[in-house]
Amino acid sequence: MNLIYALAIALLTGCGVHMLLSRHVVRIILGVSLLSAAVNLVIFYSGRISSTVPPVIEPGSSALSEAAANPLPQALILTAIVIGFALIAFAAALALQAQRSIGTLDNAGLDVAESLGTPFDGPEKRR
């Protein structure tokens, strides 16, 4: 079980990094989301895989049962998913906006910011 789990994390991380190294912004964003899934699994794994009983307090009792899974990693992952979701949605919106106004999402064509303050062209050439 642990081995499968570790392999899954490795696979996700590998795919994520591969995508991240791409030149295309959409691929990069997909890579980031794969990587964040891998990180979430690492958090889950850090909390030890011991039980499959959901960490919900049963009606009538006031404490979590002994057999329940560790609730903290689940809370952490939930937070991380929420935040990751917001950030990736925002990044996707930015990419969409960039595609519309610059016309490309290939990093080779994305040089507007670089040429804004380039040290190479003299003032006469820029005008």
């Binding site: 935040i83 910011a113 303050g117």
Partner: protein
Amino acid sequence: MLLAQAVLWPVAIPLATAALAACCWQRLAAQRAISAAGVLLMFAATLLLLWQVRAEGVQAVQFGGWAAPFGVSFVADRFSAAMAAITGLMAFATWLFGQADIRRREERAGFHPLFHGMLAGVNGAFLTGDIFNLYVWFEVMLITAMGLLVIGRTRAQLDGVLKYAVLNLFSTLIFLMAVALLYGVAGTLNMADLAVVLPQAGPSLTLTISALLLLCGFGIKAGYFPLFFWLPASYHTASITVAAIFAGLLTKVGVYACFRVFTLIFTVEGSGLREILAVMAACTMLFGVFGAAVQWDVRRILSFHIVSQIGYMLLGLAVATPAALAGGIFYIIHHIVVKANLFLLAGAIHRASGTFDLRQSGGLMRRSPLLAALFLVPALSLGGIPPLSGFWAKFMVIDASFRGGQGWLAAVALVTGILTLYSMTKIWMEAFWKDPLMPRPTARAVPAPMLAAIALLAAVTVAIGLQAEPFVAYAQSAAQALVDPSDYIAAVLGAVPAEGGAMAEPRP
């Protein structure tokens, strides 16, 4: 209640301001009023916190009525209180500058909610005592910062923000992975609790990896040597008010997190981190300053100088003696004021000469002598000319690295100082001293709020320079608290509330 929760307000006030400003999305006048009130209140709250910490020592509060290692804590020791106070000052100064700089279109795109949301993130990162919570504040900061970067919706901003977004997203993921590994070893995320638990856990491969991942994650945020490329690729595209607050605060949050984590949770001493940090510090200084030397755009020169100055702070952490840490803390505070001020000056130069390109500007010395005089203060301070604040900051870190047996680092720092002066001289010669390429028919005046904000920060720089003693003493006691965090730990873990054990009881 107001005093006992002094740690809470520097975060709660900007958060509430952002929320209220978002409520009035369509009404710009209301947003402006809320924003003004929020800035002033937050400045007051951070000063209150600073006063409280000076008077009574480390302040800690718990959220949700859960006792320390279980609930989220907010802690303010001398270091974080000073950082919060300087954030308050920066917010006030950039807000003042923004009165003349922020366009109506940018306000309609949500400047006020984003600005205050970012301040909440920055203060939250400074004051939190929980490492996962630190991650959350980093993300709050990141998403609002991305919004602020593209506030003008220009093509250059969209291009810049994509680079900013990808690398910073990556850095927070690395940070989160480090947090996960830490949790796997220690079973706790409270930083004070981690400081207690980790020495008992003993060294392990997981901890080493976690420490290095934290260094990388914070390093991208802070702009350390091999990881800084996003910074000069994006900061120069932002509108100048935004760039100033970014330059002042955002990278310093990464530096702050490094100082906190590598004193409280991990140690530089005897862990092999010192060599890595020292090489990173030296390269950060040199690469930053060389990068700046070839640039002609004021904002890009200043962006590269952020990187180079970060090296000095990292130097303080690498040497890691109390004196060096004190130097690092003093440097951070001096640098925030000076760097933000230089960016504001870049905005004023643009306003007066119509361009950020040094080759095209000129003649400002004659056209606006007041601006020229104001430029000299932060520029010379950045170069480390006595009696300004930069001299004392450089003196402290360089002196400490000589004493700490790292003479070569001190030499690199001295060389970097000279090259910094070269860049500042370049801005002075090109923008102020030389005759303009062509006489501009419309010489525009610099609006009063801009000058007031620049003068305020210049006054702070001069004040720190002339009255360095109390600031140095404060930095030394803050560094002492970093080296020996027993007060910090006691304030968090031993914080027994008024009702005694009732706090730890789970909810009904």
